[in-house]
Symmetry: C2
Subunit: 255 residues, 2 copies
């Protein structure tokens, strides 16, 4: 969330006069990259952040992202609609799993729902003290980049990965964003993480499926019969919404 008590001497996240774009490849590494004046984009392409964008596109009012199943259970007892997923599987006793298609129904419209996933909600938890935390996915990439370019602030692209390890699809997406920001805004200086992800994206962009077919989580979801989800999560610009963290809630960013 926006932190008005920033102690960083550089109020706009500038280093040596330049704004920075960098990529953090695991929530476990976040403390190393944290700066309290930087916008963090949380990325969990398969499927948490893709699903969150879809939920807001379909009219959800607020999402409470929680890191643990225990918290999710507590909210369920309180009567909330709750999505809970671990290892790609919707947990029993909850209302949704992690599929974007779970979040297209009328029942979420106007509601405050709760989501806990294997990786994405851990990344939100890790970065919650950043200047601002927004949610990114291929499904909102253009709106997100257009907004980031206007903020005049350093950006950290935080990949949720898989149980704190790097994953390929989040890295590629971070590279896509870094590539756009570095190409279209010469104010940005790149960290090595953003350079690596950007090079990776450029070499993959002609045939991203070739790159991703061997990735561990794509294989995992395909084996679970979720190819429709994978295809959706790699489709650009399904929405213009940008979810943003305000206190404990994700809400739709007012632009």
């Amino acid at each position: 969330m926006k932190n008005s008590n920033t102690t960083n001497p550089s109020p706009q996240g500038r280093v040596g006069g330049a704004l920075t774009v960098d990529v953090c490849l695991s929530p476990y590494l976040y403390p190393i990259y944290h700066r309290n004046d930087t916008i963090v984009v949380v990325i969990d392409i398969l499927r948490a952040t893709s699903a969150m964008c879809t939920a807001f596109h379909h009219g959800v009012d607020k999402i409470i992202p929680v890191a643990t199943v225990e918290e999710a259970t507590e909210y369920k007892k309180q009567g909330y609609l709750v999505g809970a997923e671990r290892n790609g599987i919707a947990l029993e006793g909850f209302d949704f799993g992690n599929s974007p298609f779970s979040y297209t129904t009328e029942k979420i419209k106007g509601q405050t729902i709760v989501i806990s996933t294997t990786n994405g909600t851990q990344a939100i938890e890790a970065s919650k003290h950043a200047y601002q935390v927004v949610i990114g996915a291929f499904t909102n990439i253009t709106a997100l980049c257009d907004w980031l370019k206007l903020q005049n602030r350093s950006v950290l692209l935080l990949c949720s990965g898989w149980k704190n390890r790097l994953n390929l699809e989040d890295t590629l997406f971070a590279g896509a964003i870094a590539n756009i920001l570095l190409k279209e805004n010469t104010l940005f200086k790149s960290g090595d993480g953003a350079l690596a992800a950007s090079f990776l994206y450029k070499s993959a962009q002609d045939n991203p499926y070739k790159y991703l077919r061997n990735s561990s989580h794509t294989e995992r979801l395909a084996a679970m019969g979720l190819k429709k989800d994978i295809k959706y999560c790699f489709t650009l610009d399904q929405t213009t919404v940008i979810p943003v963290l305000e206190g404990k809630y994700l809400v739709k960013l007012s632009q």
Copy 2:
């Protein structure tokens, strides 16, 4: 070091019957990737692991890698020759910095020396409980890969990075190794970290300097007038030695 008391049910580091090759992009992430049946290759291209290979090539007997300047100072008091570097600069009061050219002199021949650097010796410290820890650099790449292919064991390529952040040159080198192992040994299955580093290397291999000229540490060293060091550290196969950790000592691997 080799750990005969491994508790892992898979004595050769196999997962689902396959050997794995993966890349860990920061010493800070090492606990996430640790398995006690895996060979770890520690990588700090600019310049610790390049310098260590050079030192063994020029006849050093043993190297004691230490993580802190305090430990280095203690060894200095005991009369050891000590290399100590932080942020690319040789620390005052010690015998060497981090330049491979410091380790070509007659004075190291047959000696046990001590080295402490900004990143590389931290990575050795982090991974010291792996099954075996060896030292990799472009300068020993072919000998190292030939040896790794014969071990029938899973391999983790541990990049030292820069102060726990990813750096480009270590990632590229890890990708070069992953690429060789995956291409030439079909027993190996790749983790996403190895896939990403391997793709990165393949897109960089025609022009690695184009990739590296914007990397943070290349810029840093070039600004310090160390282009000769950079060029040396990117030169393949200057030696066939493979330094290996035995207890607190790095020694030359007997093959």
